[in-house]
């Protein structure tokens, strides 16, 4: 919304941006990030979601209206941008404790102790890439800072990564900067956090956990790279709590998930990297943001048909307001992720199912009554003014959403079967699954190939 106001100002048209009381801090931070620190804002008291029609009207007329008029008629105070250090500046000298405190007080760390980013450590990371340290991988909103190779190394050091993780970190930041991913939405209210999935021989080479407890901290590659992601979002993209990060509750960063490619190869399913458009055996990272997840425990059944009703029921029930990414705010951008433990994947294959068959079965079975979906989006969460029938008649929804006018008809939660993503990982000895509630266009799945430096093998030998 502030981007629209900034576009108006740039076009010479004065603007007023209506912002809820609890979001004024975010508005100030975001306006600074886009170079318009005094962009005029009109306050709306409280949150409209919980106000009666009369309260909303009164607040609009008694508070917001006054601000809107002032915003459009009164010249704002001149703005200024804070002076900051240079990209390679030494910003502090001290002991570990002193550095920790200095960084914490200046919002440069995540609150945990970290490795001090010294020049020597950063240079060790830079040896694991052929890229120029000043190369810009993208400009990251909302702070609009340059995502440089150098800054990736600095934050990698801080996160506790090893220098040989550098090619993975670079691929991740390239993905973060991809407009399809939508990094600018990373501070939205669901507090969604990114899940990183890694594929390829690099899983074994760098020692990622891809079996039991895959999402638990404790294995360095999975854990430190997950921490890097959040540090980079803070330090370079600019998602700081109480400013650009407005997650109502938030989440801790997620530990990296590695796929069990041994099992995937054994059963003949394509790995996640192939779903994302790469070749089997490529080293890749995939990122997507999820509002939360849930363990699907003790999936019973000796055939895929016996397992399906429980899995489909769980997948459908995990999605409520998220359906606004299927119908509403955006259409067709919901990409749920299901993690399957190897036992479940093997059982499906023994029953003759490919990964595509499983996705089609989920598409056909993970459904909700049409009137219930409308009630969630229109009445319960105020995500707009939608009617599935109207949307379908206008050609904005696939036929599967409107096969009749019966409000009890079952509609899918995604547009097509391929919208489901499936990764095989986790405890090989347990019949478990996990479903992530996806954040739609604000964290759409994006993947990148991991580019290893020319002298990778020699560097790895040396580091051992």
């Amino acid at each position: 919304m502030l981007r629209a106001s900034a576009a108006a100002e740039a076009a010479g048209v004065p603007s007023s941006s209506i912002v809820g009381e609890g979001f004024l801090g975010l508005a100030a931070a975001a306006a600074t990030g886009q170079g318009t620190p005094t962009l005029p804002v009109a306050k709306f008291p409280g949150h409209p979601g919980v106000q009666s029609a009369e309260e909303l009207r009164r607040n609009t007329l008694e508070v917001t209206l006054f601000d809107v008029i002032n915003n459009l008629l009164e010249t704002p105070a001149p703005g200024s941008m804070a002076t900051e250090p240079g990209a390679r500046d030494i910003i502090f000298r001290g002991t570990l404790d002193e550095i920790d405190e200095h960084f914490y007080r200046n919002e440069l760390s995540d609150g945990l102790p970290f490795r001090p980013p010294t020049r020597e450590r950063v240079e060790a990371f830079l040896r694991f890439t052929d890229r120029d340290p000043d190369e810009v991988l993208g400009i990251l909103p909302p702070d609009h800072r340059a995502a440089t190779v150098w800054s990736v190394a600095v934050n990698g050091v801080m996160a506790g990564c090893l220098p040989e993780y550098m090619p993975v970190l670079l691929a991740l930041v390239e993905a973060m900067a991809d407009p399809y991913y939508g990094v600018e939405h990373s501070g939205n209210t669901p507090g969604s956090d990114t899940l990183i999935t890694i594929n390829g021989p690099i899983i074994r080479e760098l020692g990622f956990n891809y079996t039991q407890g895959v999402m638990r901290d404790g294995i360095r590659a999975n854990t430190a790279i997950g921490r890097f992601w959040r540090l980079y979002l803070r330090n370079v993209a600019g998602f700081l709590l109480h400013k650009n990060d407005k997650g109502s509750f938030g989440n801790t960063w997620r530990v990296v998930v590695a796929e069990n490619e041994d099992v995937v190869k054994e059963i003949g399913w394509e790995p996640n990297s192939v779903e994302m458009g790469f070749e089997a055996g490529d080293n890749t990272v995939t990122i997507a943001r999820y509002a939360g997840g849930n363990h699907i425990g003790s999936v019973g059944g000796s055939t895929p048909q016996e397992m399906l009703p429980y899995l489909a029921e769980f997948v459908a029930r995990q999605h409520l307001w998220h359906l606004t990414f299927t119908i509403g705010v955006t259409e067709g951008s919901l990409r749920p992720l299901i993690l399957l433990s190897p036992i479940l994947a093997r059982t499906m294959v023994a029953g003759g199912w490919s990964k595509r068959d499983f996705k089609q079965a989920l598409f056909d079975k993970a459904r909700l009554p049409a009137h219930h979906v409308e009630r969630i989006l229109r009445d319960w969460t105020q995500k707009g003014i939608w009617d599935i029938g109207v949307e379908a008649r206008l050609g904005r929804l696939p036929r599967a959403f409107h096969e009749s006018d019966d409000p009890e008809r079952l509609v899918p939660i995604v547009w097509e079967a391929e919208d489901f993503l499936v990764t095989v990982t986790g405890d090989p000895a347990r019949n478990s699954a996990y479903i992530f509630g996806h954040n739609g266009y604000g964290g759409y799945p994006v993947a990148r190939k991991i580019k290893l430096p020319k002298n990778w093998k020699a560097l790895r030998e040396k580091s051992r």
Binding site: A8, R93, V329
Partner: protein, 103 residues
């Protein structure tokens, strides 16, 4: 004994935006065209209804262009929508813009 000291680098990176000037403000809203933009969230339609009432009472000559002219400014296409705004403003002869709602 004094602990070892380290010299540490800045973990941020230079901002790529410069300070941008804001548009000149208006002397009145009477006789001006004010455009509404909405992200289709959180009852902005009701807010705009009340705002219309309040603005017309204060500025009887105001011309308000409804959010319905634009559709949602939020979602997967928002970058394209924002990029198209300056030309739409010119077409509509917009003098001012009200955007809603950040919540």
């Amino acid at each position: 004994m004094r602990e070892q000291e380290y010299e540490v680098l800045w973990p941020r990176s230079p901002r790529q935006t410069q300070l941008k000037p804001l548009a000149k403000r208006l002397d009145t809203l009477n006789g001006k065209t004010v455009v509404q933009l909405w992200d289709y969230l959180f009852r902005g339609d009701e807010m705009f209804r009340s705002l219309d009432e309040g603005l017309r009472a204060r500025f009887p000559g105001i011309n308000i262009v409804s959010w319905r002219e634009f559709g949602s400014i939020h979602g997967a296409e928002d970058k394209q929508v924002v990029a198209s705004l300056p030309s739409r403003f010119r077409e509509l002869g917009a003098d001012a813009v009200i955007t809603a709602i950040g919540c």
